[in-house]
């Protein structure tokens, strides 16, 4: 499909800006494994502090890159499947808000005024522009979504009896989840934290801010993941040379995500004091519910791939696996997606450990946690973003991919790196190694009283894996920017591969409408979260003034000075 130049440029900017920032994000990823392994015993390197770098790594990789990509991929998906371009003014406004917000937050982080990590837990205080910047980034993504909703409603009026394309359904569900969950973090940031960081209100309820953050924080991971799921269902079977085993399974999975992505955030707060055990247990069980759509996806995609392998002449029980086009540079996207799926098997299983209520005591806030989520967000999510960003850039600019052979091996190299890295971190976590800690200064410094020799091997594995991941990242940057800078050889278009469906399925109206699902979503959400919020309001006995990360004494607000 042909897209007009302004829309093409908007999408390309939405790919270029975050990938440019990702160079900073990945650099700090490498630096962290170096600090943590005790290779350097310093609080900062090249004028950037460890915790400042950790903040940059988290915010850029997990919020900026993922949000920009979801919007860029959403524009392309909606336009391609509904054959209607997004509105130029809305898309432009969305782009400006997102870029403006990102620049504000980036400034605050690079100046060292917001070294509070990407969770920005109060009462640690960041510069107000950090909060405002992230809020604008989020609001910018809403604007794009509202425009897609209007395109979709118009399309649906003309196509009442036609199933909404699965990719469009997935995109709309994903951004509905995103819109609802970000309302809580927008409230946290705009109503509670900005006035407090400006000194207009003296104190905040710490438990409330944490609970509002995690209302958003776990749904966030599905917001990262669903674009990858859309690719698994609608693109991957085609790339493998087969068909999608069941489209209906995809619809069911997406609607289950709509219901259960948000009311499980308390499973990040099992150690929090102000929330009752009943709510924690309830949300733990709901988390097992949200594992079901992932099981469904695993089966459906595996069945689709088996079909593809057999079509390519496979015999016997497992031979189909080896017939798939792993190293075919013409379908390099297959390599990116399949590696993500392999990593996600381990990411999903370790996630079940985290969600399991009292079992969480073993690993909460230890290095196990980053070990786990690098198998998810740095697995299927990140690899899908890398592969698709190259695919879209190449198509939308009409340029050939720079160094296609290198591009084909990037996901394999990355996967080897992540597996080693996560093994090290999860092993360390089981031995009590804390996450988010500059271990090189104390715990991995033989001169310190706190030196812990058990964590040498685990952090060394982290270093080895992290080094391989960094190398894969650099190769990706060479391919991505190389493609951007090469000469145009074809007409710019957007043409996603589309998987045909293996079973012919009747349209089932309930799986092609939003209203009843939205009502059910609201009901579950209220039942799961009203008691949690009430607990934080009732049990947090004292509010907290702001603190800078560098100073044990609170920041005295202007109100108290008077």
């Amino acid at each position: 499909m042909h897209l007009s130049k302004p829309i093409r440029n908007i999408i390309l900017i939405e790919l270029f800006v975050p990938v440019l920032l990702l160079t900073i994000g990945i650099y700090h990823g490498l630096m962290q494994v170096i600090y943590r392994a005790g290779v350097i015993h310093q609080s900062s390197f090249a004028k950037l502090d460890y915790y400042q770098g950790l903040t940059l790594h988290g915010v850029i990789n997990a919020i900026v890159l993922t949000t920009f990509f979801a919007v860029a991929f959403g524009h392309a998906t909606i336009a391609f499947h509904l054959k209607k371009e997004p509105n130029y003014r809305a898309s432009m406004l969305s782009l400006c808000l997102m870029v403006g917000g990102t620049l504000m937050a980036a400034w605050a982080m690079l100046m060292g005024k917001a070294s509070v990590l990407y969770t920005f837990y109060a009462p640690l205080k960041a510069h107000p522009l950090f909060y405002l910047g992230t809020a604008l980034l989020i609001v910018g993504s809403w604007v794009a979504f509202f425009d897609w909703v209007s395109i979709y409603t118009k399309w649906k009026k003309d196509n009442t009896e036609v199933n909404t394309p699965l990719a469009v359904l997935g995109t709309l569900i994903n951004f509905t989840i995103w819109f609802v969950c970000t309302l809580a973090v927008a409230y946290e940031v705009l109503v509670l934290l900005i006035p407090w960081s400006m000194g207009w209100t003296p104190t905040v309820n710490v438990s409330l801010t944490r609970t509002l953050f995690w209302f958003f924080g776990h749904a966030l991971v599905y917001f990262w993941l669903l674009p990858a799921y859309i690719m698994f269902y609608t693109i991957l079977p085609k790339l493998a040379g087969g068909k999608l085993y069941s489209e209906l399974a995809g619809r069911i999975a997406f609607f289950l995500f709509l219901l259960l992505s948000i009311p499980i955030g308390v499973h990040h707060q099992f150690g929090d004091p102000a929330i009752g055990r009943g709510i924690k247990l309830t949300q733990s069980i709901l988390t097992f519910g949200v594992a079901v759509p992932s099981f469904i996806t695993a089966f459906t995609i595996a069945a689709s791939l088996e079909y593809a392998g057999r079509k390519r002449g496979a015999k016997g029980l497992w031979n189909w696996v080896w017939k798939l086009p792993f190293f075919d540079k013409n379908v390099y996207l297959f390599g990116y997606l399949i590696n993500g799926l392999i990593l996600f098997i381990f990411g999903g299983l370790t996630g079940i450990v985290n969600a399991s209520y009292s079992l969480n005591n073993v690993i909460h806030n230890t290095a196990w946690i980053p070990g786990h989520f690098h198998l998810t967000v740095a697995g299927p999510v990140f690899l899908a973003i890398l592969g698709m960003s190259i695919f879209m850039t190449s198509q939308l600019t009409g340029k050939k991919i720079f160094l296609p052979k290198i591009n084909t091996i990037v996901p394999y190299l990355w996967t080897v790196g992540v597996l080693i890295f996560s093994t090290g971190l999860m092993w360390g976590g089981l031995l009590g190694e804390p996450r988010r800690t500059n271990l090189g200064l104390t715990y991995l410094n033989p001169e310190s009283e706190l030196y812990n020799p058990y964590w040498v091997i685990t952090t060394m594995l982290g270093l080895a894996g992290g080094g391989i991941m960094f190398a894969a990242g650099v190769l990706y940057f060479i391919v991505f920017f190389g493609t951007f800078l090469s000469k145009r050889t074809a007409e710019p278009v957007i043409d996603f591969p589309i998987s045909e469906v293996y079973h012919t399925e009747k349209r089932i109206p309930i799986f092609d409408t939003f209203r009843p699902w939205l009502v059910a979503m609201a009901v579950i959400l209220f039942m799961a979260y009203v008691p949690a919020i009430m607990d934080t309001l009732n049990n947090n006995g004292k509010k907290a003034p702001p603190y800078l990360p560098t100073d044990p004494a609170p920041v005295i607000s202007t109100i108290e000075k008077k």
Partner: protein, 150 residues
């Protein structure tokens, strides 16, 4: 509708989830594994102290601050049962005793509580595992188990 294989898979997925949930309740019931208690807060929790309830029962009230725990060293006889209470006087802190699967958050204005039995002598490290500012990596305390029993 969904075909036979797909229905089987959804059934299996639900069964596996049910098994996991059963394990979770089993751990709670038979193994007494649980998350922190949710207690009403009052100001007395901000006094760091150790108190002995009877021969083998202790209560330790920890106060976490940037960047240390108070009390920083606690002596406990072997075989004691200890209630740990944790609160914070400033930012959010973590409270982890890895060998005993103690894992709590220290939050200003709230108090976390768990109970542990120390059967084996040793030095148990209490590590802050939540980022709490530039001195976070220095924040560790000790529970020393093997106080000469009388």
């Amino acid at each position: 509708m969904l075909d036979k294989f797909e229905r089987t898979v959804i059934g299996v997925a639900l069964l596996v989830s049910a098994l996991f949930i059963f394990c979770l309740f089993y751990a709670m019931g038979a193994k007494k594994g649980n998350v922190t208690e949710c207690l009403p807060y009052d100001k007395s929790y901000e006094d760091a102290r150790v108190s002995q309830l009877d021969k083998n029962t202790y209560q330790v009230f920890y106060v976490a601050r940037m960047w240390n725990f108070e009390p920083s060293v606690v002596y406990i006889p072997v075989g004691s049962e200890v209630d740990f209470f944790v609160t914070s006087k400033d930012v959010v802190h973590g409270f982890e005793i890895s060998e005993k699967n103690v894992n709590l958050m220290g939050v200003q204005g709230a108090v976390a509580k768990t109970t542990v039995k120390f059967d084996k002598p040793g030095v148990y490290k209490v590590t802050c595992h939540e980022f709490c500012g530039t001195g976070h990596q220095n924040m560790q305390a000790e529970v020393i188990v093997n106080y000469p029993s009388k």
